[in-house]
Every structure is written in C-alpha cells, then in structure tokens.
Symmetry: C2
Subunit: 753 residues, 2 copies
C-alpha cells in the first residue's frame, strides 16, 4: 500500500460543486419552492421550565390563511424504549418531545406548537393567537444545581443509566454515568513525583453553521411523502422522521439540498417531522425555515462541562496515573457527549493507571447535539492542561513529555482495543521540528501546545458507478457533500478507473435513488463511502475487462487494467490496448450498460491524532487576546484532496479557538439565552485570526485501501487546550475556565496581582 503511486489522489482540483455554490445557483434547504406551498412557523416556550396545562389553538385556526395547526399530542405517542439518531442514545420519545413539547416545556425556546399558513406573515401573525396555559416551574440551570439532592427533576421517569457508582436510586437529573479504568490509581499516584489536579469548565457553544435549518415537505393523498432539506444525512432524516411519525420507510423520500454547514448540528431533526405532519394535515406543501434566533435558542449546540482532572508523573516524564471526572449538561433531554469525552480524553497516551467517570446531566436548556468530535475538545482541555503544568513542574519540553507517553501501534486504547499503525508520534515530531515551535515570542505573548485524539466512525455506506457511452463516469452516493466530498468522490473514481478527474461526475442522491448510507459525520464519509466507491469501481473494471475479453475473444485473465485502458496480458499482449471510451462505445454489443453498486460496513476505520501550536498575545489592560500564530499538525493517513484536508484543519482550529476565547451561551437567572445572534455570540471571523498554518503528516491507515483517515473532527480537539496553555503561558496563571474572554482574563490578572 505504501508503495502505491497515485495519479489523482493527493492532487488539488477545483471542486465540481464550486461554481454553482459561488454563483448562487446551488439549492440549499430554503431554496425549494412548490406550487401552493404554505409557510410553517413554531410557537416557542417563554419559560425555561413550565407545565403545559392546555393549549387553545382555536383562534389561530381561524386566523386568515391558516391551513393546519399542530400541537405535541398530534404526534404519535411513542414508547420510551425506541432509539433514534446516529449514536442511538436518544430515544424517539425524547426526540419527539424536543420537536414539540408535551407535558412540560423544558427550555426557553422549546417548541410548543406549529402552524402553516399561506404566507410567512400570516403564519407569524396566527401563531401569536395560540394560547398556552403554563404553570411556571423552577428551572434547573447548572450542573451543581441539577445534581443536588433536592433539585427539581426534569423527567420523573429518568433513572441513571450505565454504571451507577454510588448514585442513589429514584428520579434524578443524572441521565447516565459511565466509567473506564485500568491499573491501580492509588498506587499510580503514589509512584508519582509530581501530582497536579485542576477543575475545568467549558461553555455551551454553537456550531455556528451559516445556513439555518430549513426543510419542506409534500404528502400525497396516498400518504407518500417527500421531505426536502439540508442535513448531514438524508437517510438519517428519513429514519428519524419515519420513526417519529410512525411511517414505513418506503413512504418517505428525503431529497437532500446542499448544506451550508452542519458540524454535527444537522444530525438530528427539529422542524423536519413537523413540516411533514403539517403537509399531511393541510394537504399542501409546507416549508419551514428557522430564523437565526431560533437556531441559537432551539437547536443543538455542544454541552457545557465541569470537569476535575488529576495526573501524576515521575521526574523523567513518565505519567504514572491520571483520573478524570466529567459532568456535561445534556440540556432538556439525555445525550451530552460526556461519554465521548471520556473515551477520548486519555486517547493519545499510555497511562498505566487511570480512571474516568462521565455524567450526562439534565438541565433546563436546549438539547445538546453533536458538534465536531463531540466532547473530545473538553476532555483534551483537562488532559493537555495538566500535561502542560507537569512539563513546567519537571522542567521538560511539553512535546517531549507527550512523546514520552504517546501511544503507538500495539498500545491499548481507553476501551481496551489495540492500536494498529497510527501517526501520533509523527505529529509530535513534526510539531517539534516546525519553525513555529522554535520562533521567539514577543512581549505579552504566550505559547501553548496540545494534542488530541478522535476515534472516527465507521458505519454503512453505498455507492454506484455508471459508465457513459463516451467512457466518462457518474459516481453516485447517499452521503451529503459538506466539505468538498464531491471532489474526493471524483478523485477516488478517477484514480480507480484511470480516467481524468473532469470525466467523473459525482452526485449525491435522495433516499429512493441509492443504497443506504449513514450520515456525513464522524469523519467517516471520505473514508467509508470512499471505500464503497473503490469497491464499485473495481467491479466496473472487472466488467470492462470481461467486455474486452469478449471483444478480443480471450479469457478474462488475459485482460489487465492500466491507466484507464484494458491491456492484453498472459499471452494476449498483441492486442492494442483499449481505452475506457473505446470499450464503452461497444457496450450495446457486448452485454449492455456497465454499472456497479457496492456497499461497505468496515470493521475498523482507524483513529486520528493531531498536535497544535498556538501563540497568543494578551492586552493586559483590556483583557483582549489575539491568536498571533497557529500551526495544526495532523496525521491524515493519506490526504485525498490536500486542500480540503487543510481546510478541515484550519476550520476545526478556528472553531476551537472560538470556543477557547469568546464563544459562550449566556443565560439569565430565568434560563433565557441573552445572546442569540452572531452580534452577541462572538465567533471568530477571518480578521480575528492569523492564517492558520497546516502540516499534513501521512502515516498510511492500514484500514483503508489508500491509507486515508478521517480528517474532519480531530482538528477541533486540541485548540481549547492549546489556547488555554498559551494563555496560561502569557499570563503566568493557569487558566481553566473557558471561554478566556476579556472579563475572565482581567479577573485572573487581578487575582494574580
């Protein structure tokens, strides 16, 4: 595999969807229009916690233009044990209640009713006429409050799932608890020369995708429904909607729109089941487009965390023991990424003794959703901050300390599985030798390094390839294109078939038009759907060889495939090589069109590692800080399209820097989000950041035919810690509570003084 010379893989062609996207022709979720289409809007709870005594929709129903009104009880009443969603930890009953409240409104902004009318204005006017009789309840707004013995309980039926430790029986806001451990923690800490222990906190942070959620649906009189919209998985949307609405899968076709960013936030449903239900009830097409405020108040950002990490080391840099206690705010329904944080936080290192516990805590805030390597950036903040502190204490270079404890092939993961060939050490070495690491710092500047681990998802994918009569190809799949996937599809097919990139047309199809594929997420699409494309292409080549054998009147094994041509081998070398175009011209005479379909579900996909270096400058008068230099080193296995790998590295780092420095959900004491706009929720823009430098390390992944690894999530894992370590370096104070916003920096400086 290492020997393979690639012709297309590793090149940087223009993406096939690029022109349509930059010229505004591409159709996103809100761009659909259908004759007679209604506009749907949602009524949202003004309370963070309130019993819903009754909902009176009669005035709204009579409001001009209104064709259908929907309340929670209009949706199917689902048993509590049906699972849904990619991680299968959300029950459909919870998801249904998150889409439309039933007994209680559980957060400010929680949907309580929806309606569809002939215009958006008519809908907005009518929805205000819905009268909800609320009984306000005390909201649970923070982890400490939620886990206190006398806390108000969000869901009476919830008992702690998983390893219960010493948690009491009975109703609780701790939805689940998991543990991982190895060795003997006490002995490990006893062996240590240095022990450090810190508490950390991180904020609720939104993915901040450009495109608000948008969807539309039509339902025929025979119940056959079509849902249009942008998401990270058309099959996922279908399966969630048919589960929530109790339809047969064949009754709902989901047509993917282009997607203007997801980062995990478009892996679940909000308005999608409502728009189908409204379309059915009104017997008209319906469209629902969220406002930016709705996106902030009622979709799924990543969870706030509170964590305690402890680590012991010998003077030579050997870590002897580490422990982590993680609490994450799930929001109104179970499902924070606490478990993934636990799985990932010690992933890069071979600690002989460790213990991790992670808790999923219910609070009266919006339900968290996946956000790029969910939980891992928080876990890495704990681990990498303590490593930074230990390096200082023992006077060792922080990268050297990491190298001393880094995992490599044969080591055992947190979950007890052996690592195959991985490239973590190579990222550390590349970072260590990078000019950035040796560059001098200016005044009021600090430098931090941090590493990270992400496991990468596998799951299922399908792909088709069809050959045109001119020898060009269509490659089709069911994985939405979020970060340049169509370019990778075309590169992979071009590589296998041996034809130019421009001769491959990559398309993403609806759920009726291609085999099942899991979502675009978990850094799985290029790797796993890519495997399906490779497999389909190889089937195509076998068939092309067979067609050539027929034309040459030789056995199949006398035809090889080389550079897009059938070539004679094993005694058939006298035959003039035939190009794919020449073979295709004869399809109708040799057996008809050549197409192939393949599906895969890989047993393993191989994890990813990265190491980041951050230089930060602080204005100590105002507390304002700025990243002045940032380098991302990452093992991509084999970069299919290096520009898009670099884009992922830069994008992940930017998002991580945003969470580290400025982004946070700010709630008032009633649980009302105070900053639901991009003006007040401060994401970094281009002018806030330096050009982020990237170094792609390529240690081929044995689990993939080209050696590729998932690259999309790992770059957001180190930045929280890298920035915090840089800030701690600049201030001379260990910074543990994110975001490191100006007030917090000033606070730390004043404490220090």
């Amino acid at each position: 595999m290492n020997e393979r010379k690639f012709k297309h893989i590793g090149t940087r062609p223009v993406r096939p969807d690029g022109v349509d996207k930059v010229t505004g022709r591409a159709n996103y979720g809100a761009d659909i229009d259908m004759p007679g289409m209604l506009h749907g809007v949602v009524l949202r709870s003004p309370y963070a916690h309130a019993r819903i005594r009754s909902i009176d929709t009669s005035a709204a129903e009579k409001s001009p233009g209104v064709k259908a009104v929907l309340v929670g009880t209009d949706l199917p009443d689902l048993p509590r044990d049906l699972k849904g969603g990619p991680e299968n930890h959300v029950t459909l009953a919870d998801l249904s209640r998150n889409c439309l409240a039933r007994e209680t409104a559980l957060y400010h902004g929680h949907a309580v009713a929806a309606l569809a009318a002939t215009s958006l204005e008519a809908a907005q006017e009518a929805v205000q006429k819905i009268v909800v009789d609320y009984e306000e309840l005390e909201p649970v707004l923070e982890i400490d409050q939620a886990i206190a013995p006398d806390a108000p309980i969000l869901h009476d039926h919830v008992r702690t799932a998983g390893m219960r430790g010493d948690l009491p029986d009975g109703p609780t806001n701790i939805a689940s608890r998991i543990e991982f451990s190895r060795g003997n923690l006490e002995e490990g800490f006893a062996d240590a020369d240095v022990v450090v222990e810190r508490e950390f906190s991180t904020p609720w942070a939104h993915q901040g995708y450009i495109e608000p959620h948008a969807c539309a649906a039509r339902v025929g009189e025979d119940g056959q429904a079509v849902l249009y919209g942008s998401s990270q998985g058309q099959f996922l949307m279908r399966d969630l909607c048919v589960g929530l609405l109790q339809l047969e899968p064949g009754k709902l076709k989901v047509v993917p729109a282009e997607i203007g960013g997801g980062f995990g936030g478009k892996t679940t449903v909000y308005n999608e089941p409502l728009v189908v239900a409204l379309a059915k009830k009104s017997n008209r097409p319906v469209k629902m487009v969220m406002t930016r405020e709705e996106v902030f108040r009622a979709t799924g950002p990543t969870s706030a965390s509170k964590m305690r990490f402890k680590m012991g080391a010998k003077r030579d840099g050997t870590i002897t023991a580490a422990s982590a206690s993680i609490y994450m705010e799930a929001g109104a329904f179970p499902g924070s990424p606490a478990g993934a944080a636990a799985m990932c936080c010690f992933g890069p290192y071979t600690f002989p003794n460790f213990s991790i516990e992670a808790h999923d805590v219910l609070v009266n805030k919006l339900k968290s959703a996946a956000y790029r390597a969910p939980g891992a950036p928080m876990g890495a903040l704990g681990t990498e901050s303590l490593l930074d502190e230990i390096a200082r204490e023992i006077g060792m270079d922080p990268i050297e300390l990491r190298l001393r404890n880094a995992v490599q092939q044969g080591d055992t993961s947190t979950l007890g599985m052996p690592y195959d060939r991985i490239g973590f050490i190579e990222t550390l070495e590349a970072a260590k030798s990078h000019p950035h690491y040796k560059a001098p710092l200016g005044p009021n500047q600090g430098r931090g390094v941090a590493s990270g681990y992400w496991f990468n998802a596998g799951m299922q994918s399908s792909a088709n390839i069809s050959i045109h009569a001119d020898g060009s190809a269509v490659v089709a799949c069911g994985s939405p294109d979020i970060g340049g996937w169509r370019a990778s599809m075309a590169l992979i097919a071009a590589e296998e078939l041996g034809i130019p990139y421009e001769r491959v047309r990559p398309v993403v199809l609806d759920t009726d038009s291609v085999g099942y594929s899991d979502l675009t997420g978990g850094s799985r699409t290029t790797v796993v759907t890519g495997m399906a494309i490779i497999e389909a292409a190889r089937q195509v080549i076998d068939e092309l060889r067979a067609r050539t054998a027929k034309m040459w009147d030789v056995e199949l094994d006398a035809v090889g495939w080389q550079d897009g041509c059938a070539v004679g081998v094993n005694g058939a070398g006298d035959n003039e090589p035939m190009t794919l175009a020449e073979i295709a011209a004869g399809f109708s005479a040799t057996g008809g069109p050549v197409n192939a379909e393949a599906s895969v579900v890989p047993a393993a996909t191989g994890p990813s590692f990265g190491t980041h270096i951050c230089d930060l400058e602080v204005d100590k008068e105002t507390g304002v800080s700025k990243v002045v230099r940032y380098t991302v080193v990452q093992d991509a296995g084999k970069a299919i399209h290096p520009s898009y790998v670099e884009g992922q590295m830069q994008g992940g780092a930017s998002q991580g820097i945003g969470i580290a420095l400025n982004e946070e959900y700010i709630y008032d004491e009633k649980g009302v989000l105070e900053n639901p706009s991009f003006l007040d929720y401060r994401m970094p823009v281009a002018s806030d950041l330096p050009m982020i430098d990237t170094v792609i390390v390529e240690v081929p992944n044995p689990a993939h035919p080209y050696g590729a690894r998932g690259v999309g999530e790992i770059p957001i894992v180190p930045p929280l810690a890298a920035v915090a370590n840089a800030m701690s370096d600049a201030l001379g104070v260990r910074m543990t509570d994110l975001p490191l916003s100006p007030p917090r920096v000033l606070g730390a400086l004043s404490e220090d003084v």
Copy 2:
C-alpha cells in the same frame, strides 16, 4: 417456465403513481418552476418552402424583458454523417435543422428563431419583432409530386440511400428505398387461382398525446446543465441534446418529468436543445411549453402513405404470392416508417413468394416521428384488406384463410429469421371462437377482421434494487413510466423478492442517478427493463442468502429462498426461516446495506401478434359511421399486470380506429395545415367508441424469464384494416383510402350507385 406459479405477476394492483396523477400532484413537463426563470417561444415559418435570406433579430433583442435570442446558425454546424435517435436513421444535422431552420424553411410552422424573455407575454410580443427575409419556393406536398422527375428538391445533397432499384442518380426527394423478397413472384402469381391488387392511402395522423411538449433548463457558469421535461427517454434526450449542442454527456443531466402520453411522438427533440441553448446564452433558467397548435404544426405525427398491394391465392386458401410497393411521406427530413411497414406487412404469414419495396419520400410537411408500431398499421391495411377480399372471392371464412397461412414456430420472418414459439395462431383461434365473431349483425352494419405483427425492440436497460432496513425495497430504473410501468416494476420486484407489492417502491430516475437505459418505446420497457429488475433482484437474493449463511454459520448453498424468506436446505433445515425484514435488520452487522444493479441487452425479445374484430354501422344518408362492437385478441406472452395490458389493447385499438375513420392532416394548396386543433382534428373520444372487449392470449415468450411479450404497439396494427374491412362489408364496396370519413363514404356510395 410454463410451470412457474406466480404470486404477483398477473394480478391487478393499483398503480403506485395513480393517486398523485389523479389528484394533480404529479409534475409533468410544464410544472417545473425555477427562480428567475425565463419563458422561451419560437418563431415559425409562414411558408411551407422558402429560402431564408436573412434574419434580423435586433428589434427583438431590444424588446422589453428579452434576455436571449437564438437563430439556427447559433447552433453547432454538424457534419452530415452523425446519426441520432433511437432508430439511428436521423442525422443530427437534419435534427438540428428541424429544431431550428438554417438555409431553408421546409414546412409551414418550421422553427426559424427562438427567444427567451422574463414573461411569456414579453416573449410572445418580442418574437414578432424578428424580421425574416424569405424567398418563397414552390412547396412539394404529395408523394406523386415529390417523386416526379421535375419536382422541386428539398435537399440538394440527398441521394437515394439503400437498394436503389431503377432510381436515377442525382438530387432526389426519395431519401431511401429498401427491398425484401423471397421465392419467385411471377411463378407465385401464376400458381394462383385468384389475384387481387389494390392501391391504398393513409393520412398524416398525430399521436394526440394529452400533454404538449414542455421542457426547461438551467446551465451553470461551468457549463453543467440540467434539462427537465417529459419524454419517452431521459437518456435519449440527453444523448440527442449533447449531440446537437456538442456537449460531453457528463455535462448534461436530464431529469424526467411525468409524461402525459407519447406514443412515439416524444422520442425526439424539438425545443429541448433550444431551451438549453437559451439558458446558456441568457445565463438564466428557461422554460418552453408548446401550444397545442405548435404540437400539431411542428412535432412528429406519423407519415401519410400511398401503397400498392397484390396477392394471389389458390382456391384452398393457400397464398401463393404477394407484393407490396410502399411510399411514405417523411416530411421535411428523411425518416418515415416505410421500412418498418415493409418489415411488418407480411409478418403474420408464410408467403412462399413475396416482394416488398418501400420508399421514404421528402415533402414540405413537418418531419414525421415514431407513432406506435410505426408503419405497421399501414402495411397491415394492405395485406389484411387483400386477404379479406380473397376470402370473399374463394368463399372462405377470413379467419380460416389467415389460419391457413399463419406463421408459427420454425417459420421464417420477412427478414429471414426463424420464429421461436409465438402465439399468432392462438389469437386467430380465440377470435374465431369468440361470441363476437358469431354474433348477428344489424342493418347497415358490417364486420371486419384483421391481424397484425410487431417485432418489438430490445436495446439496453439498467435497474437498481436497494433493501430498506425494514425489509421493504426500492427498485429504480431509467425508463419513463408511460403506461403503468411503475406498477409492473413493483410486481416484478415483489415476485422475485417474495414481498408484498406495497413493500416495493418503484422509482424512475434522472440520467445521473441510474445506469443507461434506452427509451420507453418499441414495447420494450416491461420486457427488457423488467429483465434488468429480475436480474438485480436475483443478485439481491443471492446476497441475502449469503448474509443468512453468515448468521447461521453455514455455507451459502445451505440457504434457499422461498416466499420472501431464507430457508435452510442441504442439512441446514433446523434453522428457523428468516424473513427479508429479519435479515435486513441485521445488515449493519453482516456486511452493510444490500443493493444490486443490473443491466441487460437481450439478443431477442420475441414478436407480438394480434387479431381484431370490428363491427361498424354506417348511416348511408350522412356517411357517418360508428364502431358498434370491437374485440381485441392479443398474445401477451404473460401479462404482468393484465389491466394495463388491456388498457394498451383498448388504447391501441382506439387510436387505430381514429386513423381509420376520421383523423387526418388537412393541408391547403400552400402546404398550410388547416386543422391544427382537437376541434378540427377529430380523434375519437369515449362517447365515440363502444367498450372495447379484450382477450389476452398467453403463449409464454421463450426470450423472457416470465414469458412476457411487449404489448404496447401491436394493438394499433390491425385496426386500420379491421375497420376498412368492416366498412367494405357494410357498404359492399372495397374501401382503400383512409380516413373513412363521411365525405369519403358518401363518395364511395355515390360511385357505387
């Protein structure tokens, strides 16, 4: 094969697309709408024959709202040897000129320019401002005029193609001539006791589909184009448009709309290349919808014919010889169905001596296109009329006479190929024993019988099947659904997989989403695309068996498939049978999604035969006639969905009756069509016809796994002759010139008197 017991094949479920179609939700060609869409219109020639000296578009370009104007020279100048179209007898250079005239306008209504503007009204106003400087030429309007030595020539470059016989060299309006013969014609006629000879003529007749041609297109800045519209083949539309516009196939995706009838008339392009060119030129989406008048004046009805048939028989009913000389009006460019008429006219019979010659004649009328069994109804008119006359002369029952000469397995076709198992004799016997054939006739009534033959097309098809996680299936193909094809798709997949019909979702996909498939036409889709579905389903079953074997930990050959379940065989019988749904639930654990794709190009598909009985009543005072009873007997091989087979039989008969009795293109002396509307072009409506009785004969077709045969075209073959024979019987005068409209009937009666 004959033994197979079917569970679904042969049942009559509701069609999956039925509800959407009857409730108006289905999207036809004109239903597409895109943001910023322009409306395109065409300027048409007011002369049947005129040189185009110049076209001045400057005023139109300045007209309000106009965004693009197109004249013939804007289209690529194509070499004259590029072929296009399903029958490959049309050159792309001709097709391009039919879409938009170049040097000459060749018929009244010929497109000479097109433009796109922001509204239909603006476009209609602007198109009148295009100034064309014409030099009027003498039009050639009839066969005799066209083939006369001094005829004006339509195309200076045309020389007679094919077997030239005694035709002169040099420019000609006889575009081609073909011959078939066997035995010795002179000896054959010398052996005969009775010889009859007649001249026949038939009119130009339109398919009369409900939906006028409609299409729309958008073109991206990168040249990537999408064409929407209804047609009989999305791949055909793509291939014709990329040929005419000289694009790469991968640059044009064609998305099929529902189609409101085609009958052969939607197997070529008119506005489709223009709408793509206008979209490219204007950089805006464009839609073009023909008016009914445009459909009549400028699409492709079937050709008018003039024919001379001669036949000799012995007193015992043995036909000793037959000859046919056929001339058909191609219209402005080569391509009448004269050749197919020649291939089919003697198809049902084993004449030992015969000779057929067929001529394709250019005239200044619109270019003919395919119309349901193109040419065969005209050929059958000649043969079946003479058989009727011979039966009278020798005093033999006309069905008995046909039985005496009917082809059966082992006989040789007109083209010299042996027939495999066919069901012609069975249709004659079923007709003979049908109550209709023995029922008494009333006053002024006559009865006619006639048979017909159609060869049925093969060509290429692809199909996919994907299995949902609940064990339901999607079956997808690239063949448009015109006559209930989705129902057949679902029946075939249900039959193979062993699941309920309702659990199969049949879909028709665009050219990027499924493998290549030739058009829906030639009575090929249910048979040939059906074979691809059967093949894909069998691949799916093999994979389902493999998955089960994995779960049971047995060899593949220990798992059978029965009634939608994997069952243990060969020693694995202890395993509980697993349903498809149970196997599907485990897909992610056993190897991922199960999908399959298959393509076919059958070597043979087997011909079809039918025999019709017609009772006609004539009002001898007015000449008005009415079909009072009509029975269609047809060999369907195996009827997949008998209701849709019966629908085809009734529809084909109705169209044939229309041509026989009333339909015709009426031209004035300048070549202007005088009846371009459904008011003046008189197709039969429901109240004009009796309920047409149908008898499906099932003689399994050895070329198909279920024994199915194409059923769509053969039912239009016998009616022209059956009606003419009935009319001749009623009037006591041999009627040879169609349509048998009241003036003609009165004329015949007055001659007779």
